[in-house]
Symmetry: C2
Subunit: 440 residues, 2 copies
């Protein structure tokens, strides 16, 4: 065979790929998440993998990470594709989608979107260049009821509860609380403080203090900011704790009311599901109210596995309408790949086949094909062995692929069908029109 040159394939860093037994689990996760989103009435949307670059760059922040497309041989006189980039999240494409199809959608518009996204980041633990996100968002004209801010964590909690993950916590905050609090302290540039506090978990109190000193804040102001960041709790008591810190502003009052509403609405979730944490800021500039962020309890440094928040003006960039939204995103690949790498994911099946129909001889092949067709029509995933050969070889194939049942059509006219349970080794007569899979 082949004297030709071999192009030895190598894994591409940052682009995960799974063996079938892992992929089957990922597919089950995706189906589960999809069903969970639909259970709450979110409609499926997919957008192209690419957007025009000016759409992707509207917020400017992640420009370095955007992959642009080029053709191997660009056509002469034109560089039309140079304006296309792969999307780096699903929120910007969704905002663009709503603006573009505004007249054809019913509002409040609730959609889920499960797609791959791409970021040209330097690969490192938990960071991928191609990964799947599972997003739900609501966009509405002129205002999104707070109901949805409370719904987002509930949906994610319910969905992820079915996936048997290691313990994780969803932290909630409200940007109005932070901004209103800083304003109440008389700080001129609250956004600068938000950006500094967002780094608290990485650089610690001293790091934040240094930045805020440079920003011109007084020692007392900095102390108050850090005091706020330490407020944390599972219920409405957090609202009182913040109020007691003494800062006052209309925005703070509004933010605390919103935060209180969301916490009250989630009070029935299992303990530890949700915590209000005043140190959570979310770096992105477009968040304006509620923000969400979740991490694994035993590895918080791994990065957020769920994130989102309320944004007032993302779709409004693309149309002269006020189209605020709120959404949350499950970082599927980040969660999944970690469990795979740590061996914490029970492997799934290598193939979906329930029954392998054996072909004892070429003469009985037609009988085997008919039997396979009958079993399929009854809902069993069924392979017919691909050639007449020794029974031992066919059993070995079933065993290697983890196929749970091997079916033997009659080896002669008038003889019965038999089926072998590969787990128990038992073999018994069976009728392909009536057989049911034994319960285990």
């Amino acid at each position: 065979m082949s004297e030709q040159r071999v192009i030895r394939p190598t894994p591409i860093s940052g682009f995960p790929e799974w063996l079938p037994e892992i992929r089957s689990v990922e597919q089950r996760w995706l189906d589960h998440i999809r069903a969970g989103f639909e259970r709450y009435g979110f409609a499926s949307v997919e957008t192209p993998s690419v957007e025009n670059l000016d759409v992707l760059m509207a917020k400017g922040e992640t420009s370095k990470e955007v992959y642009t497309l080029h053709r191997v041989q660009e056509e002469e006189g034109g560089d039309s594709e140079a304006r296309l980039g792969l999307h780096f999240d699903l929120t910007v494409p969704f905002a663009r989608y709503v603006a573009q199809h505004f007249n054809e959608l019913a509002f409040p518009f609730k959609r889920y979107q499960i797609q791959r996204v791409w970021r040209g980041e330097r690969p490192q633990e938990g960071r991928y260049r191609e990964f799947t996100q599972c997003d739900i968002d609501v966009i509405n004209v002129d205002g999104v009821p707070l109901h949805f801010d409370a719904e987002m964590p509930r949906v994610v909690h319910e969905v992820l509860a079915g996936l048997d993950l290691p313990a994780w916590t969803l932290s909630i905050n409200n940007r109005k609380v932070l901004q209103g609090f800083y304003e109440g302290l008389g700080i001129a540039d609250p956004l600068a403080v938000i950006r500094a506090v967002d780094k608290l978990h990485k650089i610690g109190d001293d790091g934040v203090r240094a930045i805020l000193t440079d920003e011109g804040l007084s020692g007392a102001q900095i102390d108050s900011c850090l005091e706020l960041a330490r407020v944390k709790g599972a219920d409405r008591s957090v609202v009182d704790a913040v109020a007691k810190l003494g800062a006052e502003s209309d925005l703070l009052t509004e933010g605390l009311e919103e935060l209180g509403f969301v916490l009250d609405s989630l009070a029935d979730l299992p303990e530890g599901s949700v915590v209000a944490d005043m140190s959570i800021a979310r770096g992105l500039d477009y968040y304006t109210g509620t923000v969400y962020e979740a991490a694994f309890d035993d590895d918080p440094g791994y990065g957020s596995i769920v994130a989102g928040g309320r944004y007032e003006n993302l779709a409004g960039q693309f149309i002269r309408r006020n189209l605020p939204g709120v959404g949350i995103s499950i970082g599927l690949t980040r969660i999944f790949a970690k469990l795979v790498a740590e061996g914490r994911l029970p492997a799934g099946r290598t193939c979906p086949t329930d029954v392998l129909v054996a072909v004892p001889s070429a003469e009985r092949r037609e009988e085997a094909l008919r039997t396979g067709a009958l079993l399929r029509s009854r809902g069993f995933n069924t392979e017919v062995f691909h050639q007449a050969s020794k029974v031992g070889k066919q059993l070995q194939y079933a065993s290697k692929k983890g196929i749970p049942f091997v079916w033997f059509p009659p080896f002669a006219d008038g003889r019965p069908h038999e089926v072998k349970d590969m787990a128990t080794g038992e073999q018994a007569e069976a009728d392909p029109a009536l057989w049911e899979r034994p319960a285990r």
Copy 2:
């Protein structure tokens, strides 16, 4: 709202995007196809969207169409991404996958792969730059039994039969028949004839005659080639018709045996499902035996909606093993987009919600949330209206979104629940723990 500049979004030519009521149909199609593939025991595989360029270029043919990735701001001193390109089909990535994971797979390895692919083609009717393909392939070590050549059309026939498509026909041929026949005529370069005959439907007899004359064929040879191309039929009679044309070679005999086997195996399919057509050549160089190609009966010029064949040496480029394969691909987007454009696709639901739970007053919101949770736990996709408001407004929302049932929790303690069937207008008492959706 917003004095800022509006970036008006425009559709990107060649990158389809659907409204929710179309997307829900596409999702149903994808689920149906997936289930059909699994019914035959094909395992799910996904590969990254990108491959190293040398993998994509191994066959060299489509280089102009490959999109390469670049970062907006390439890092200094490095251009590492320049070696990555988006895959243009799923066969090459699969061949690479099998070679790369060779030691971890069980053979014959049957996989399905449903993913987007990208081609930097000039957009035209039926051609997209991003589109979804649904592929099944089998790769085996040292030889793929003919059983699989027969299985491919059967699976596709069964799967597409469930999608209520306009009539279409799958044409089958075998490259060994063509090549063996031309060899039997004493033609030195049979591949050149295959490439010419592949253009027959576009350029006609005269066009092919002109090319073959340039190739140095005699008038009698050309007559025989065109005679072969006219042979067509639904069953084994085709084999006899070819044999009668007088050319003889071992390869022709082998090809006719294979073709006969495949046709015999498919004899039970509905009439017109499959036709052997000696004018089908498939342009790609890597096909070596059975080839498949399907088109809509009423619009054959639209291009192939299903295509595939047997390839002996695709995975062998990436590893020093003999890894032949056979596969078939459903051009999902090409089929789907045509039906959408022609208005032949009944629109689906705009949202998956079965029941909207009304919130008559803020005081009853908790009751509404509890009712929603109960209905969800019983498997109904349920939204709770996002704020207390007039019943008329809530009914209007349900009507606009096509939600079939509106649920009214008790407006006071001790009163019953009621549910309104939006299709009939009937409203009746109901228990959320027992209610079943009326059969229609």
